[in-house]
Subunit: 264 residues, 2 copies
Amino acid sequence: MAATEDGNRMEGRTGKADAPMTVDSGARRPSDEGARGRFERIYRTLRMRICLLDHAPGSRLREEDLAEEFRVSRTPIRRVLVKLEAEGLLRSVHGVGTIVTDIDVNELAQVYELRVELAELVGRLSPAPVDAALIARFHEIRARCDEMVSEGDPRTFSRINMDFFHLYNALTTNGPLREINERLYYQTARIWLKTALRLRNSKELIHTEFTTFQREVTDTTEAIEHGDLVAAGHVRRAHIAMSFARIRKASETEGRPVIAPTAG
Amino acid sequence: MAATEDGNRMEGRTGKADAPMTVDSGARRPSDEGARGRFERIYRTLRMRICLLDHAPGSRLREEDLAEEFRVSRTPIRRVLVKLEAEGLLRSVHGVGTIVTDIDVNELAQVYELRVELAELVGRLSPAPVDAALIARFHEIRARCDEMVSEGDPRTFSRINMDFFHLYNALTTNGPLREINERLYYQTARIWLKTALRLRNSKELIHTEFTTFQREVTDTTEAIEHGDLVAAGHVRRAHIAMSFARIRKASETEGRPVIAPTAG
DNA sequence: CGGCATGATGTTGTGCACAACATAACAAGC
DNA sequence: GCTTGTTATGTTGTGCACAACATCATGCCG
């Protein structure tokens, strides 16, 4: 049991080498969950798919298809879409469709600007107590990260990055701060993967991203081991700022998108 | 025309002495607005009612009543309620009803903690250009504030405070920051009015609140006139922190609620 | 008289049919 | 050939009836 509402574990974690296919809908569960549980499940599934680019920016999400996949009618699906639209990941237009919002580096500059500032607040506002279990979870992430550096693909990287975010976000007990961090994170989560897929030819840059993230995880873990949450905040702040700087640089050097494969 | 999406003006502003009755639903508009416009209108109306305690914490909002008032069916109403629930102002429970969330000083401490930090970011992150029109709007608020100090009631105070917030929030062009500030503001907007209504016997404390807010508006206006948005941020930060401290103190000195009149 | 089962009542959640709307294809006219 | 009006098609938005669920009253039994 042990209510761990902080963790935000996703479904479909099959261990180390999870298949690069689309996120499982988790359907075929007749009634072992209430209406609210089903809502949360569908919401999280779609959110992760959008952020892993399973639903590419600009593509359309037909409500009826989703309804069929999740074995419900359009009504509960629309609830989820309304929330995702409020989060800025979707946009529904009457008579046209619900399309996944496109992401632009310049628009996201403001979000990153904010994330940089908020990163330091974690661990400064209402720091969570650091116990052995928490440290163990950081070590686990670091292990997955070390493994990924040598043989990982961008998608796996994004998954680990997502898990690391949730772990880091659990360092504060300030609920509103956690919510806002989560919202802003998922607004920017796609841009790295999108950039990485575009630059997947130059493996050098990709490797730089991997090792940089590895350093962030290592440094953060060490700070946590010392119980210095403020230091962890500084590490995170620096890495968010640098990460965005690299993304922006990459999108400047590259000219036109020549976008990734279509559902291949 | 001049798209002023920043202002967030509410409907029902009848000038200086607006009636203390409930916020007008703005119904009786057949089709001069699209589906999205209607959604926004209903959403803002309900949000303002909740924050002005027209819908007291703990009270129930029957979907059918709202549907009848706004001349629509339950379906679009539910969309609004879903969003308000995501904002933390409502909570829908299957088979029970949608109840207005109660507000507790201790729970809101975290929100205030965050608002204090974010207040300074306005004007520091992506400051808006200060022109004569903007200064004029600050002067207008100050005039309304001066008038209210002598003959205002707590409800009028809350309205002016709300308008001042929107004006202050327009000092940054960082969209995500504005959204977050708005969300957090409306989560805490009710607590002042609730406390003031409880203490409406001791007019001394109420008057202190009025004059304190008057000073905040005056200081902020002066800072804006000098184009010093950072100073405005410091003023705001200080006043948010002090305001919460007074609210907390008031709720400590008072023992039990002995809650306000019931729809009388 | 107290406790508990059972039905009545009221509310939100769901499913489905239709309306409102936008777009694309197509044909008529210039 | 090009433009334009019209129709066909597909999508989201709305309304309504019913199911799922919780609560309260009632009456039975101990």
